[in-house]
Symmetry: C2
Subunit: 508 residues, 2 copies
């Protein structure tokens, strides 16, 4: 069963909370609840990209109760801080992980351990199924799913409220700590299952894919291979020119229709012009069916930008949201107003009674671990629109350094990740160092600009398709997969199977 | 000029402070002051080995004032905690480093940067000269020396007293933080010298050698090669059986003389027997010329054990302290008492007016960053003597977990280093992962048991000599070097030169 897209439903459900006073916080919690698939359910805010507000999710094959019972939820007493020895650092918290040992053949056969890395969302049943998990019976593998600290139930300080209370408590949320968490749990599991000599393969998508590749590089003695799907590990300020993300979004729309691209590109000035009129915001609110009256035309612009970005990022079969939008924009009779066309595009893909264009409040951003991560490590430079894209000149990033400082009181450390994991030269470095990493990308995904798109060495390889979108290749093989997608998935499985064969040849 | 050993002088100078009330603290400070050579000046307490109390140093070629002025002392504003984002972690401290750019040919030629990693001692002029620094003129290299956090002048919290005040302040002293310090400073220097494409080679001895090899593994994008001299990276509890260190000390003595070995082995019971008599301690104090009256016979045993261990670790030409001890023990007429022989051995190598056998106080241990490191990360299991060694059955380790808990109030995390850097399987892992590391060892050095003694791959290689001792190969080439030593040094330089050639072939 192929997971069809529910691109509209999240916005629909968020819309239904519109009358509630704490609408944004609730929306955000709802998005978290819905974010259950293998890959990102919402656009990560890396580099200031939108997130959360227009979160989306995929429909998963439902697991039967008898299948679900094979997945055991467990908790590991995780060390709060792995890298310093202040007395507070010894504090532990319960980190959630899930194990399925139904197919596990014990350590004798050196059966593999497949570790699915959960990114910035709750670990739920929706994560259980993916193309790697699907080969567990064939390889008698142990399936492991590890939740990320500060997400879901894996909360230091006992509760969400305490964990997110302030920068002192949030401070232990960092990529290095998250990687060390994985190292500790996997080491513990290998011992616990007498599986010290069993091959471990880690995998994940988007941010979790970045974690997978970095884990292989930093802990090669723990994971013998990593698959990073749609992982923009090169997407930092010193590596890619800014605005590359929006360049790809623009390309996707332009490929769908040059007219559509032009309509969007020209709409921003019209919106700004109307918005500056005394009754302009009232007019725009009505025109775009906003759930509440617009306070600024920027809020409308942000909503439209985010919707277009998300459509491109998840531009996947069978719906192809970019085409849906452009078909609606182009499909109106000649002479139709630009804004009428734009609204038709939005309405075609989201199809809601009204549209929530209210920005997230500071109160809700302050309680968001992903905002914390964006503000400390992942921000890089913010995308600035240029003439080469269809986005407005005064495009507003998801969050700014000033806003971060005001939310959390700490500055970002934008260069640390490049120092820690490598910047411009990392591809050249990896030619001679490291092995067994798959970087897979779909080139319609705007994040592919930060991805590794060419083979680096015999065993650090790039798999890509021009038609693919964000993390699409992680879903179970389906008879409905287009050929190019089925082929990408099979290539990935073939390489992983090759690692296991090589491992067995050497170690057993 | 070959640096001859001054094995006796440290003890002599420490002895001269005997009348001072704060003798131990002062001794310790003195040892720190004397610890200026390339390699360890005192036995590191890894795995509970002795340290500090019987510290020793090498005689260095004095540098002329005109040479010294080429070495510029600088300070980097280092981040207190690289791995978490609590507001306190953003605090900086001044980390000392030294640069010699006299030979540096700028970045055009891709001249190399040689980074000497300073271990658990003050960075001083004594560190400036070594076989890698010696080839700087030939390769137009930039010479860099980086002091370790919490040692020398590189003190967080503004002073030694504050840095060492308690576990909260000491807590930021960890290996991961020290490696990240190196990453930051080297990245800064590459940028500052427009040397982003210049090859960086890191090197160091003993603990600093461990740091060098780990740095290459964790930060391959920053250092393209590492030389780890006498670095016991395999010397952790899950890898080597305990007591291996003392097995090598025993072998060294046994090779010098079977009689000497037997005399030492049988002396412990005699010491214990005499010590248990009412006037026994007075007798032993006189017999062994202790500076103050022995409180327990264990203190004498510890002093003897440490002296034998250090003699083996630094059993180097031209003095060969193990031979010095055994020649004195064996050289007395037949029928001479065992303890008279033992004292003659000690006196022959140390030659002091009196011997300081008083154990370090808790107050002095609490102010020692190396004790902190031993108590948190580096302790592993403590050596326990067995019948295969010449050491007493009830051999006392340098420090115990209980003592650590009482000193600092925190438990050790003995498994973290194995999780972080690899345990039993690291050699097999490195066959397929990583490149460009030299592990050099002298097999008379008891720490060689924890060293990498066989080639792992084409470019992760082991260089060893049966006659060498701890870090001996780091000193400048000298016409007085025995052939085996000169050959070991030349092999190491040849490999480093090969890395640079390969780098230039690929990058320029």
């Amino acid at each position: 069963m192929y997971p069809s897209f529910r691109y509209r439903e999240t916005q629909k459900e968020m819309g239904s909370f519109n009358g509630v006073s704490s609408v944004l916080l609730l929306s955000w919690l709802l998005v978290l609840l819905l974010c259950t698939e293998e890959c990102l359910s919402r656009i990560p805010s890396l580099l200031g990209r939108p997130r959360g507000r227009y979160g989306r999710t995929h429909r998963h094959p439902s697991l039967s109760p008898s299948t679900l019972k094979d997945f055991q939820t467990l908790y590991y007493d995780q060390t709060l801080d792995h890298f310093n020895y202040r007395p507070e650092s010894y504090t532990t918290f319960r980190q959630k992980y899930v194990v399925n040992s139904k197919y596990w053949n014990g350590s004798n056969n050196s059966s593999p351990i497949f570790v699915y890395i959960v990114g910035e969302w709750d670990l739920t049943e929706g994560d259980y199924t993916n193309i790697v998990a699907d080969i567990a019976p064939q390889y008698q593998a142990l399936l492991v799913y590890i939740e990320h600290r500060y997400y879901g139930e894996s909360l230091p300080f006992g509760s969400r409220k305490e964990a997110y209370r302030n920068a002192s408590n949030f401070g232990y949320l960092s990529i290095d700590q998250a990687l060390a968490d994985l190292a500790e749990i996997i080491t513990y599991l290998r011992k616990n299952y007498s599986a010290e000599h069993c091959p471990v393969i880690v995998y994940g998508g988007s941010y979790a894919g970045m974690l997978a590749s970095w884990f292989r590089l930093k802990y090669p003695h723990i994971a013998m291979g990593a698959w990073a799907s749609s992982a923009p590990i090169l997407d930092f300020s010193d590596i890619n020119p800014r605005d590359e993300y929006n360049t790809i979004v623009t390309k996707d729309f332009r490929e769908a229709s040059e007219d559509c691209y032009n309509t969007i590109k020209e709409s921003w000035a019209i919106i700004d012009k109307i918005g500056s009129h005394p009754k302009g915001l009232k007019y725009l609110s009505k025109k775009f069916k906003t759930c509440s009256r617009l306070n600024t035309s920027e809020d409308l612009r942000d909503f439209l930008c985010y919707t277009f970005e998300e459509a491109a990022q998840y531009d996947a079969p069978p719906d192809y949201p970019v085409n849906t939008i452009c078909n609606a924009i182009d499909g109106l009779p000649p002479g139709t107003e630009f804004l009428t066309r734009i609204f038709a595009g939005i309405n075609a893909t989201l199809s809601l009674g009204c549209y929530n264009t209210t920005p997230e409040t500071d109160a809700s951003l302050k309680m968001d671990p992903w905002t914390w991560q964006a503000c400390t490590e992942l921000m890089g430079s913010n995308g600035q629109s240029t003439n080469v894209t269809m986005f407005p000149q005064n495009y507003r990033p998801y969050i700014s350094a000033d806003q971060c400082m005001s939310l959390f009181g700490i500055p970002e450390r934008p260069h640390w990740l490049v120092t820690e994991f490598g910047g411009q030269d990392i591809k050249l470095i990896l030619k001679r160092f490291g092995s067994n990493i798959i970087f897979s990308n779909g080139l319609r995904d705007p994040y592919s600009v930060g991805g590794v798109l060419e083979d680096i060495s015999d065993s650090i390889v790039a798999i890509k398709t021009t038609q693919g979108s964000h993390c699409l290749d992680m879903y179970s093989l389906s008879p409905n997969d287009p050929d190019w997608l089925a082929s990408q998935k099979k290539k990935i499985l073939h390489i992983i199977e090759g690692w296991m064969k090589e491992y067995h040849a050497v170690w057993t």
